[in-house]
Amino acid sequence: EPEVTQTPSHQVTQMGQEVILRCVPISNHLYFYWYRQILGQKVEFLVSFYNNEISEKSEIFDDQFSVERPDGSNFTLKIRSTKLEDSAMYFCASSEGDSRETQYFGPGTRLLVL
């Protein structure tokens, strides 16, 4: 069964450094998403992406964040200058179609900012 994959599974970085989290959505899916889960807290929506542009974003998704689909398979989340509070599990998800469709999640990337 097709799955969303994410790399790396764990990332440790120094505060102020840039990180790029990578995701490979399910191949026939058209909508892509990033969520994050700070330890002990709710899973929070960051951004959705369709047709090579952001379709919706939350107030968390500020200028420090960007997303890109650099080729036909990868979907990336870049954090330009990491802060301690960016430490979280970051989940990528994809869905086949529009908002009526179910989102399928990847295993997550655990980001630790020191």
Partner: protein
């Protein structure tokens, strides 16, 4: 604001027994979708079941069923014949029609005792 509340941080059940996980949500929308996701210790979130708000019939997937009470804004998950592999964190999630954003509850940690 749309919120999802899971009032049971932890639940436990004996193997082969039935357990019900509670979820309530707050919305003024009439078109929306509800989901239960399971997150085992491996951390990949897996869809358990979904319910469209316009459907009166409760969704069922094998041993998993929901009790959707639209007027009460309640969406509980019933797991019948519980198995050890059901042990996980269970998240209730809400998505308004026309939005890409999933709103999650805090989760309920389910333990299955042999």
């Amino acid at each position: 604001a749309q919120t999802v509340t899971q009032s049971q941080p932890e639940m436990s059940v004996q193997e082969a027994e039935t357990v019900t996980l509670s979820c309530t949500y707050d919305t003024s929308e009439s078109d929306y979708y509800l989901f239960w996701y399971k997150q085992p210790p491996s951390r990949q979130m897996i869809l358990v079941i979904r319910q469209e708000a316009y459907k009166q019939q409760n969704a069922t997937e094998n041993r998993f069923s929901v009790n959707f009470q639209k007027a009460a804004k309640s969406f509980s998950l019933k797991i019948s014949d519980s198995q050890l592999g059901d042990a996980a964190m269970y998240f209730c999630a809400y998505k308004p029609g026309g939005s890409e954003k999933l709103v999650f509850g805090k989760g309920t940690k389910l333990t299955v005792n042999p």
